[in-house]
Amino acid sequence: MSKYAPKVTELQKEFEEKPSLLKGDAPDMPWWDIPVEFRDGNWCFPGKPEVLEDLGLANPRKWAATDEDWKLPEGWQKTIRDGLKSRLKRFRSFKLFLDICVRCGACADKCHFFLGTGDPKNMPVLRAELIRSVYRNDFPLAEKILKGFSGSRKLTAEVIKEWHMYFHQCTECRRCSVFCPFGIDTAEITMMARELLNLIGVNNNWILAPVSNCNRTGNHLGIEPHTFVQNIESLVDDIEELTGVKVEPTFNRKGAEVLFITPSGDVFGDPGVYTMMGYLLLFHHIGLDYTISTYASEGGNFGMFTSNEMMKKLNAKMYHEAKRLGVKWILGGECGHMWRVVHQYMNTMNGPADFLEEPVSPITGTRFANAKATRMVHIAEFTADLIHHKKLKLDPKRNDHLRTTFHDSCNIARGMGMFEEPRYVLRNVCNTFHEMPENTIREQTFCCGSGSGLNTEEFMDIRMRGGFPRADAVRKVREKHRTNSLVTICAIDRASLPPLMKYWNPGVSVYGLHELVGNALVMQGEKKRTEDLREDPMAGVEEGEGDEA
């Protein structure tokens, strides 16, 4: 395991023995006096100077969170104050969420980071108080007249350290906002806080390097066009070897009906590539007229974890490319935060998409009325519609070696509201599917613990803690139903859940939904399939491998 995380037995022992607020042990000092301690495993490496220069971001320098002096720029307090003011002016949400919290505590034990660390400042209400306390001190009106009474404090370098720590222990998953009686959304507050921190050069390289890559090469992983094509072509070869079918994706082709965009993790990362193979098989199966772009080759958007301007900048490529290629509409792959951006931000930021047409499935004729304006359809919607109209030849037995459960990704659940389509697809492509406990799925789903740009090796300690509630839920369904496969529709999940499962639930593998679709598709002209897309043997195909599930 990573050198940045304790052994699982040590962490288990700590959970059981160490006093924590989760277990009812309050700290013996007010929260604002609790010192912030950076140590191995609880901070992300800061943005490299060249990355910041490339993006034109503030204060490029070499520094580390463990340094005493963070080399903040001259006049940083004013920068933060002005930045705060400007955001309060532009976002009603931000102002309102700072003003109306009554500190009822309903959110307190809803955050996966609080459940995994017991750290008071990981209660969503306190996370927001980190900013509120400064806001109350610096801004007139409200409760300023009675300082001390209202819990306000000065903006100091210590406060910035605290912000850096705790706004990078929030994955913008919005679970707290489900339970808040006023719908206060900590994701909104964290987004503002990260924008502010970026103004003074307090940042995270694992977010900014992908942003810079995406700006330059079109995708987070920094894959240049020829390599991008090569990678997909090698997947095409793998598919042919496994199934005997040659799929034929095209790239940057003008006049295609549909532009397909998916996170670059699906093109480059294991196990994302198997999901990519699933898409390619599906499109071949139905004869879709589609193309993949090497320029708009990223579905995800790490700009979202930087600032709303950066989000817009990266997102703009999707419509720009769709327009250039003259496609009718865009089909989007499996990803979480990508769909938060596409569903709730894209058309507002970069629309109107009047150069596209209202999406209609060329196979079933279904109009995707809920995507009428943005003109981008989620692959799970697309596939669910195909299955509903019986346009796919599926053999779910081919997934009999997998006993599945489904992980709702945060953004799809709470920032889009798509729950049924992926489940419908999953039920049709495999025979064994069991839900995790009800407080851990659908709108109450738990984050993988590594979302919003925290999926980095040096942050492993916090990731394993933050992922604990999800892992715990998987353990429960596993004990009850011998579940061995965790199916997701999110590229970050596909990257972050494998180490989480290895840590807490060894023996559980992570799959993309369309990987299972790819396994189950009965392709025309295929050879006898005995192995799934990751070359694991299917059950019941050869003797002695029966799993009577």
């Binding site: 309060l88 949400s93 500190r103 034990d109 240049e224 709730q344 509903h388 389509e421 509630p469």
Partner: protein
């Protein structure tokens, strides 16, 4: 403990001020006429200012928290309240938050057990206590209309009758008096009892609870213990709502304590977290339909951003693209 004692002491001092003022300094006019008018102005003006202050700030993005299935195919059942797609469904969502505290009803309590294992238990006490508190306060405020009208309006009479249905004492016992006292006690106690809530509580969380307790206690004592003569009270209130400035007749000092604490609450209201009363209607995660892919939401300050265009990209990678047999715009 300072954060509890400070607000408690403040409420005690605030209660003492009108008592001393009226009993020893004869300031009945100040506490009975001047301060109530001033407080009402602050409440109304302040509340409207805060609302306007929120409303003038734009909502750049459509960011509902979706807590149920979105509208998609006709063979998939939408959850119209938790993922509304039009105005009326959204109105139901907001009103169910305002009137029934729908989101709070979901509340659970997480516990870490040996193993380690997490368990989530249903935990509706906060919902119940909060609902009882707010609803009984509303009923109490409404039935105070008896002091502002010569004849009680019908619907309010009905509420009043309902509240008094346990008509066994003289004067008749109001159910809400008991409920609000129980609820406020619960809301105070949970701020001590639950370690998490103890950590997050500020003096500004205790102050309104103590203030409201003080108001209720003064009111209840007047009605059931000292049995204040209500005629001069009604007389004063009727004149106040008709914008009269005549000095009040002789009323017991306890009444002035009650009235003054209400005035303090009115003044405190617009400057404090109590504004959640207005804010709950404006929360963008609850009051917007989840239809952002169906209908374009406009951001009034949508910034112009320079992004890297395809042409710039091709200029950088043209040779590599050609080698990979990718079509290019320029040779």
């Amino acid at each position: 403990m300072k954060k509890v004692l400070m607000p408690l002491l403040m409420v005690a001092v605030l209660a003492l001020v009108p008592y001393l003022g009226v009993t020893y300094a004869g300031l009945g006019y100040l506490f009975g006429v001047v301060i109530p008018y001033a407080s009402a102005v602050v409440l109304v003006g302040g509340f409207l200012f805060r609302l306007a202050d929120w409303l003038r700030r734009p909502v750049p993005f459509r960011i509902p928290t979706t807590c149920g299935q979105e509208r998609s195919f006709d063979w998939i059942r939408q959850n119209p309240v938790e993922s509304p797609s039009n105005f009326w469904q959204t109105a139901v969502r907001v009103l169910s938050e305002v009137l029934l505290f729908r989101s709070l009803f979901r509340n659970t309590k997480a516990e870490l057990h040996g193993g380690p294992k997490l368990a989530y238990g249903s935990n509706k006490w906060l919902w119940l206590g909060g609902l009882a508190f707010h609803w009984s306060l509303l009923v109490i405020v409404l039935r105070h209309a008896r002091f502002f009208f010569i004849m009680m309006p019908g619907p309010i009479q009905l509420i009043d009758d309902f509240d008094r249905f346990l008509d066994v004492t003289v004067p008749a016992f109001y159910l809400t008096d008991a409920v609000v006292l129980a609820a406020v006690t619960f809301l105070v106690l949970r701020r001590f009892q639950d370690a998490k809530v103890r950590v997050i509580s500020l003096p500004t969380d205790f102050f309104p609870l103590f203030l409201i307790s003080g108001i209720v206690l003064a009111g209840v004592s007047m009605r059931y213990v000292t049995k204040v003569n209500v005629m001069p009270v009604k007389d004063l209130m009727l004149r106040l709502v008709q914008f009269g400035f005549d000095p009040p007749a002789e009323i017991g000092a306890l009444f002035y304590v009650h009235l003054f604490l209400v005035c303090v609450l009115m003044v405190y209201f617009p400057f404090s977290k109590l504004m959640h009363m207005g804010g709950i209607f404006l929360s963008p995660t609850r009051n917007l339909p989840n239809n952002s892919r169906e209908k374009r939401h406009v951001n009034p300050w949508n910034p112009d951003i320079k992004f890297r265009t395809y042409a710039e990209y091709e200029d950088d990678y043209r040779e590599k693209m050609k080698k990979a047999n990718l079509p290019v715009e320029k040779q």
